[in-house]
């Protein structure tokens, strides 16, 4: 009896340990498969053609990914300009100003927004936001980068709110009491004491929110009009664009496995993977100062 128990315990402990490392294994596997299917693109398409201005893969064999990069960039910047002030404003309100009952209502509501499928937001975007913006701004089509930015802003807000709120919440109460004792008003305390003390966490919140926005696929694909044109001026915010994620989602279903087009789409996936890796490593290097926050950002 004693013996079998020990033997079982040994096996279970090993299994648990192996599971512990599963996350590492999956990150490596994902990177490996992206490289395996994406790197041949570099051999098949010259680098100068890959970083050219025309994405017209089906008939023209033009695999320039610059329009897609700029498309992702402009939509994400727009989303950031919307999500950062609103996300941080909401976090400050929830953590510092709202009465307790209000907090109990707001937190689950923001979480709910985070749980709404992006395809539902894209769907409402098509039916409600797109016609509305077309009429409001008097532009030929409502399917624009700006429409995508609005939806992405909404998708990034819950991430920013929950991480920033945790950071503000983690500031010791003594700091605030000290400031009040010195005669500071509540607003001065928030602005000059609490917020600076939580700044690293707020920075993490912004980075993770923006990381979320870069990677969003369905909502963006449905409302940005899917036109792979170079988007560099501010005016292109109000014309159709196409992001990297949308390109993969829209075209992968129609390419034959192993073709150049297939490899280039995986190459774009690789670029996205590396961007998210960079954002998350940067964000977690800030986060690791306080461990609790590192756990909370995932939940």
């Amino acid at each position: 009896m004693e013996k079998t128990l020990n033997w079982r315990e040994f096996v279970i402990t090993r299994l648990i340990k192996a599971s512990g490392y599963s996350a590492v294994i999956f990150v490596v596997l994902i990177f490996f498969f992206l490289l395996r299917e994406g790197l041949p693109a570099l051999a098949e398409v010259p680098l100068s053609a890959l970083f050219s201005l025309r994405w017209y893969p089906i008939e023209g064999n033009n695999f320039g990914i610059l329009p897609l990069l700029t498309g992702s960039f402009i939509v994400t910047v727009g989303a950031g300009l919307i999500a950062v002030p609103f996300g941080i404003g909401t976090a400050v309100y929830i953590s510092e100003i709202a009465p307790r009952w209000m907090r109990e209502i707001l937190k689950p509501l923001v979480e709910l927004l985070g749980g709404l499928p992006s395809v539902v937001l894209g769907f409402l975007g098509i039916l409600v936001l797109v016609p509305f913006l077309r009429r409001l701004l008097d532009i030929p089509t409502g399917l624009t980068a700006f429409t995508g930015s609005l939806l992405l802003g909404g998708i990034a807000v819950p991430t920013i709110v929950s991480v920033a709120e945790d950071a503000l919440d983690a500031v010791p109460r003594d700091y605030r009491e000290g400031a009040w004792a010195l005669g500071a008003t509540r607003w001065q305390t928030i602005w000059r004491v609490t917020f600076p003390a939580a700044s690293s966490g707020v920075l993490t919140a912004i980075m993770l929110g923006i990381g979320r926005a870069i990677g969003e696929t369905m909502a963006v694909m449905m409302v940005t009009g899917n036109a792979p044109v170079l988007a560099l001026s501010a005016g292109s915010l109000f014309s159709p664009v196409r992001t990297m994620t949308a390109t993969i989602a829209a075209e992968m279903g129609e390419v034959s496995n192993g073709s150049t087009h297939y490899h280039v789409l995986f190459f774009i996936g690789m670029v996205l993977f590396l961007i998210s890796l960079g954002v998350n490593i940067a964000a977690s290097s800030v986060v690791f100062k306080t461990k609790k926050r590192a756990e909370r950002i995932l939940s």
Binding site: A23, T90, I94, S118, V119, M218, M222, F288
Partner: protein
């Protein structure tokens, strides 16, 4: 002079509070608006027939039964893989792992896994499960892809739940002669169960609503019959909503809103269950 300064401080305070409150209100109104709008527009489409029949006339009529069943299968499939693996990984991190370089590597990997774009998961699933392991476009491939995507949420929430069990519980159990595993299984997991369940449901909620990871791994436009085995492809609610709102011309608007409503209902129910479990556990907790 002093008076003016104080007035100034009060004014800034009122302006600042006003601004921040205004932003919070502007953030919350669209959330409530979205849900209410879909409830109102979708409700007329809901009928027993809509929920229990196949689509016909090129999706323009009939119901959405295969999409509902498909999402159900995918969610179950995702749970089968990600729940045991995620909880085991959480147990390792909370009960066994030393605070060293390797553990930090695991944590960074989890954070990165959580940040990888969903469409990249789709590519990975296509490369590994569909093509390399030859599972084909199937429920199995899609569930495996979704479960890797769900893993970080389950690991991190479960770990937090396990860690919140006081250390003294473990000490007492071990001092009474229990082995480490017995302590974990009978004491720690039992106490952390509500937290683990909450994390599990929130993770699966995300999986149920995702479209991009199943686009090329398991979802199909239309199936004349329900899938018979895990190696069959399936329809799914989020993908179906995407298809009927972008790919089908002259699609009746009512069916679109009805589909959105069913999907939201699926997701919201899971969200509410998770919230209820969490708040009830918090109220009952004695430590």
């Amino acid at each position: 002079m002093k008076n003016i300064l104080r007035l100034d401080g009060n004014l800034t305070e009122r302006l600042g509070f006003g601004l921040v409150t205004f932003m919070a209100v502007l953030t919350v109104i669209p959330i409530i608006g979205t849900i209410i709008y879909i409830l109102l527009r979708g409700a007329p489409a809901i009928s027993w027939e809509f929920l229990s029949t196949f689509p016909n006339d090129g999706m323009r009529a009939g119901g959405i039964l295969p999409a509902i069943i498909g999402t159900f299968y995918l969610t179950i499939g995702t749970a089968l893989f990600s729940v045991p693996l995620g909880i085991a990984a959480a147990i390792y991190l909370s009960e066994y792992a030393a605070d060293n370089r390797w553990t930090r590597l695991i944590r960074i990997s989890i954070i990165n896994l959580a940040g990888i774009p969903s469409v990249v998961y789709g590519l990975f699933g296509l490369g590994l499960f569909v093509l390399f392991l030859k599972f084909g476009t199937s429920i199995l491939s899609a569930s495996l892809t979704l479960s890797i995507m769900t893993l970080p949420v389950i690991i991190s929430t479960s770990e937090e739940a396990l860690r919140s069990v006081p250390q003294s519980f473990r000490t007492v159990s071990i001092s009474l002669g229990a082995t480490r595993w017995q302590t974990i299984r009978r004491i720690v997991i039992k106490e952390a169960l509500p937290g683990i369940l909450t994390g599990m449901i929130l993770g699966l909620e995300r999986a149920a609503g995702e479209t991009a990871p199943i686009l090329f791994t398991g979802a199909v436009f239309f199936l004349p019959r329900l899938p018979h085995s895990p190696l069959d492809p399936t329809m799914a609610l989020p993908y179906h909503l995407f298809v009927i709102s972008t790919q089908v011309p002259e699609m009746p608007i009512q069916i679109q809103y009805g589909t959105a409503l069913v999907l939201i209902f699926f997701v919201l129910t899971m969200n509410i269950i998770a919230t209820v479990i969490r708040s009830r556990a918090r109220a009952r907790r004695q430590w």
